[in-house]
């Protein structure tokens, strides 16, 4: 036993063991958690296991805790073979021996491996996606019924909550949506100007900005911003309430959580997003006008004149018509994921992420559906 960390009191290390006559293990010193790392390594190196050791003499122990006791019991053939232990540690040793008896024989929980397990995982994931879509469709139905009830009897709508959500999702979003729309207008105008100048078709930059902003980009970027800002907030708010059993409390009181929580958010967003779209359209056009003036030397009067010639109200109305659908998708996905929160704080984070990803995905999917339908209708 060569040990660097010998205790100051003697040449023995703080925890030691000796094998006598090949089958009698004498142990002593401090057998505590802090020593267990070293001790277990040294015991392993000495090649000791319960098979060779017949008896453990523990009379030299000066300190023992449950980690040390576990090591001691694992070195002995059975707990009864440990002799000479101090009266103080007898209760501890007995308790740890009971715990070892309960845990020692347990099979390690194996992780399923191999290609079959991988295939099974793909299957489970696919089933999971199917269940999810099914549940989401169910939730869309619930929300439609609840919103329909409110439409039939508007006085049952929670006005305060709706106005509150109008403010947080609409009014408070004005600065960031405005900045984003302005920059998009600038970028589109720049790109158009650079390409169209080559053909001396500078003036068509105005057409391009007008059609792109009004028909597609204004509403799309407003919706993406709202999905990131408000869809995530819906999920986190409702999720925290679910964790806190507030949603369950509503159910026991006889309140409909969907009517209480989802409907005001859906109504508020369906009002707010079209308004934000009009605002984003205007600010986006302003961005285009600024670039036109700076790069192409097209003044504001000419810009407006050209715009009114190139773009009729159809482009604007098409853009605006998409807004309520985008709003419904964002609000319903946000609320759905919020109600799905269960168990832990991590679940709130996971659901919020999913909510934003799904909302943006739904927005783009609806946009594509609109584009196809409109081209089919030749509008």
């Amino acid at each position: 036993m060569t040990e660097k960390s010998a205790s100051s009191s003697g040449d023995r290390p703080p925890a030691w063991f000796d094998l006598e006559d090949g089958n009698r293990l004498r142990v002593g010193g401090i057998w505590r958690l802090a020593q267990v790392v070293q001790l277990s390594r040294r015991l392993e190196r000495a090649g000791l296991s319960g098979r060779e050791v017949q008896e453990v003499d523990a009379s030299g122990l000066t300190a023992l805790d449950s980690a040390g006791a576990q090591l001691l019991i694992r070195a002995a053939p059975s707990p009864d073979a440990i002799t000479g232990i101090d009266e103080r540690y007898r209760g501890l040793l007995r308790r740890v021996a009971d715990a070892e008896a309960a845990t020692g024989t347990l099979p390690r929980p194996g992780r399923p491996g191999g290609s079959v397990a991988q295939l099974a995982l793909i299957g489970w994931r696919t089933v999971g996606v199917g269940i999810r879509i099914w549940e989401l469709l169910g939730f869309v139905g619930l929300c439609t019924v609840a919103t329909g009830k409110v439409l039939v009897r508007p006085w049952t709508l929670d006005g305060r909550a709706t106005v509150h959500h109008l403010q947080t999702t609409g009014l408070n979003a004005l600065p960031i949506v405005g900045l984003l729309a302005f920059l998009i207008g600038v970028v589109v105008a720049f790109m158009g100007a650079l390409q169209l100048q080559k053909f001396s078709a500078d003036i068509y930059t105005v057409d391009m900005v007008g059609i792109a902003m009004l028909r597609e980009l204004g509403v799309l970027f407003a919706a993406i911003m709202v999905a990131g800002r408000s869809g995530s907030a819906f999920t986190a708010e409702i999720g925290a309430m679910s964790l806190n059993e507030e949603v369950d409390a509503m159910r026991t009181i006889g309140l409909d959580p969907i009517g209480m929580l989802a409907v005001p958010r859906i109504v508020a967003l369906v009002i707010a997003l079209p308004l934000l779209t009009v605002y984003a359209d205007l600010v986006g056009l302003a961005g285009g006008a600024v670039v036109s003036l700076a790069v192409l030397d097209i003044g504001f009067p000419l810009f407006v004149e050209r715009l009114s010639g190139a773009v009729d109200e159809t482009a604007f109305l098409i853009g605006l018509a998409k807004a309520p659908f985008f709003a419904m998708a964002i609000a319903i996905v946000g609320c759905f994921e919020g109600f799905k929160v269960a168990g832990s704080a991590a679940s709130v984070g996971r659901r919020t992420t999913t909510s934003v990803v799904e909302a943006i995905f739904a927005v783009i999917l609806i946009d594509a559906a609109f584009a196809m339908a409109l081209s089919w209708l030749n509008i």
Partner: protein, 266 residues
């Protein structure tokens, strides 16, 4: 019992609080509070709602910096220590928060393993073995090791919190209302568990509680928080204390029932 009596005779208390002063806004919680937690004892701490039981516990374990006063835990001031020394002292105490405060994203075994990983360099297999040992010691079935806290009942969550508090074989264990929300049978089982662990592991226990049955069953001494100070003594001494709150507390119908139950039980 003899070992405990011998250790109690040592001059150094496990925790010593002197002149503690806590105030939140206009509300004075503690004023000149003195308390000794003796090595090897189970101290039950009682007091009305808002009397500062939890604040006292938080002041001792280093979560609440007091306005004035000295708190020595195992001879050191937690707020004076930094880095490694502070971590070493924290390894010698364990705290069971109300309803467990388990990390909700980790399984029960991972909750315990996290503590062991933070404080020791043990290999994963040893940590797993020790975590399972603590789960058994806290009276949980082994299949709860892989469960998330949300999958456990309230009583099992408390036990899992206890297993985490015991992970490093601490010398002092602080329990914040461990039997709150448990049914009487579950609470009695938990009391027995605390008593058993306290004796086999040689723990010193600081237990905030409302449960008179727990007090009668396992507390060696009782500390009552009244008038921003503390009065400590064995149950018999406190029964004769003339303070109106203490009289009402220990002589109410529930107290009598608890005392009678304990008397006939033994």
């Amino acid at each position: 019992m003899t070992a405990r009596a011998k250790e109690a005779a040592k001059p150094e208390p496990a925790v010593s609080v002197r002149g503690l002063n806590n105030r939140f806004g206009a509300q004075q919680i503690h004023e000149g509070l003195d308390l000794d937690l003796l090595t090897g004892e189970v101290l039950g701490v009682v007091g009305s709602s808002g009397s500062g039981k939890s604040v006292l516990l938080r002041s001792i374990v280093g979560l609440n910096r007091s306005r004035a006063g000295d708190v020595l835990v195992l001879g050191s001031d937690l707020f004076a220590l930094r880095g490694r020394a502070r971590k070493a002292l924290l390894a010698r105490i364990g705290v069971l928060f109300q309803s467990g405060a388990l990390f909700s994203g980790l399984t029960v075994a991972e909750n315990i393993a996290l503590v062991l990983k933070t404080h020791t360099g043990l290999p994963a297999a040893s940590i797993d073995r020790l975590a399972r040992q603590k789960i058994d010691m806290a009276g949980l079935p082994q299949d709860s090791a892989a469960k998330l806290p949300a999958q456990l009942s309230g009583g099992m969550r408390t036990r899992a919190g206890l297993a985490r508090a015991l992970a490093l074989d601490p010398e002092i264990v602080f329990l914040d209302e461990p039997t709150a929300g448990l049914d009487p049978i579950g609470a009695a089982d938990f009391d027995r568990l605390i008593r058993e662990l306290q004796q086999s592991l040689g723990l010193t226990v600081f237990m905030v509680t409302h449960d008179l049955n727990s007090l009668v069953a396992i507390a060696d001494r009782i500390a009552v928080l009244v008038d921003r100070k503390i009065r400590v003594g064995p149950l018999d001494a406190l029964l004769n204390d003339p303070h109106p709150w203490i009289q009402a507390y220990f002589h109410g119908p529930r107290a009598k029932a608890a005392h009678n139950a304990a008397g006939s039980g033994n």
